[in-house]
Amino acid sequence: MFDLSILFTSVLNGITTGAVYALIALGLTLIYGVLHIINFAHGASLMVALYGVYFLKEQLGIDPYAALPVMVTVMFGLGYSLQRGIINRASHGKDENILLVTLGLSIVLENLALLFFKSDTRSIDTSYTLATITVGPAMIALPKIVAFAGALAVSAVLLAIMRYTDLGRAIRAVAKEKHGARLMGIDVDHVYAMSFGIGLACLGAAACFLLPAYYVNPLVGNGFVLIAFTIVVLGGMGSFVGALIGGLLIGVVESIGGLYLGESLGQVGIFVIFIAVLLFRPQGLFGANA
């Protein structure tokens, strides 16, 4: 019943979706690695970015891919100011507080969207929405291929920033030992805010790649947030390589799970992985320590 070409298509689809998941998870894992907090507002922020792309297209006629620089900048600014203005102030030095504040942020963002945009699901129409490319026996939607390539490119840029720039070195220093970093003259609060900003900038990019083949509604972030958490936990909190591989893996699991178990039970597969990893290998596949 399920011959190999269907399986092949499914895997390919999973990999392309997984690349975007990886991009979302990269932002999350960067924030976790540096600030040691879980950004619960990650899904809601992605939703904000998706609405941003949607309105740029619908109101101003800007193509989603052309909107990339705008969205990355806007989301970076949003992240930087959220961290400096609210999250850092509310932490009072306790990690649990940050968890609660980001939860509060996600509640506010999601329900404001519900208030203003209603629960309608919206999508955009571009000339390439329905275009497909044939890869071997499979047909893949063109926007998915672009998303795959784009997500990998953005990830590569991010990794390069982390490895080769002063900012990247400062971020890694703060992640390892913030007191030592402060003594070396690094402005820790600034680095925190930069990390948060870059984390959300990843979402800005992800939104541009997602929307042509996807949709937006006020609760769209929920679906992504647990997936992103799963990827981050699976790959090891704070590990970039882990997030990349975990993203592709989860994309494939979801796609194949959906093929054999149906849409909603396929999702359960992801949560089962998530719970199992949390319980049995909380350091993840690539994490250094528990």
Partner: protein, 321 residues
Amino acid sequence: MKDLRAVALFTTLIALVPFLTQSGVVLNFVMMALYASLLAQAWNILGGYGGQFSFGHSLFFGTGAYVQAIAQMQAGLSPWLALLLAAASGAAVGGFIGSVSFRYGLKGSYFALVTLAFAEVFRIFALSVPFTGAGVGLMLPLKESASNMQFADKAGFVWLILGLVTIALLVTVWLRHSRFGAYLQAVRDNEDAARAIGVNPFKIKLWAAILSGGLMAAGGAFYVQIFHYIDPGLAYGPATSVEALVGAIVGGMGTLWGPLLGAVVLSVLGDVTRNMFGQLPGINMVIYGCVLILIMLFLPRGISGLGASCRSIFGRKKDRS
């Protein structure tokens, strides 16, 4: 004891309210505020006294609600018996979640995430299996009588929920004065130190989860009795988890009266916004989220910690790490 006298006074005073007024608006407000208090108090046992922040308390709520509905509709059980069964099922789910997550040492953000994920798994299952009515939900048939726990006037419901809230208050008083409660707070404040003096953190946290789950499930059962309806989104969706958590945090975690205070404040805010803006979707949650953020910014100890927070803001400069 002072705490017990205060609880007795509170219960007596609220029990008299239905004699003083017949106003449906007032009684409805009292009922809903008490209901919100019950959820916040349930969360407070595990989150406030145990320090384990659950983001998925709807797990217990939803289980209680479904058991309450199914026990009556399928097994023909009396709702009063069903209520006990619902609380026991919630406690059992609490025991299950507690045993798997605490056995593997999950705490902090990880515990929050795993409870959220479990709630989502339960929601998807409730959507997929037949005995929950799947997406259509379950509709409890309307049969007004006290023996059927469907009271003709609001007073009956007020007394019922007041009884549940009083039980939650008594459990909390017991936590404050018993050995178990002292162990629980010791584990919250410093797990390693508690273990070093011979406390078994796993067992202590597990029992806190069981208590918390049982009370939360009673809240779910009450919900079914007043609204006669439950579906997977209402049962296991994030709204009740958030309501329970925000109530406890706004009022003050790890205090006897904090969750009640928080729930009342949120109920008043909810009613005021409803009057100002009408029934806009999501407006209540926006208010909850804003209150949560503001409390975290300015009153991390909640409203009942107002005095202590003022002293630490104006008294001496805190060293920030």
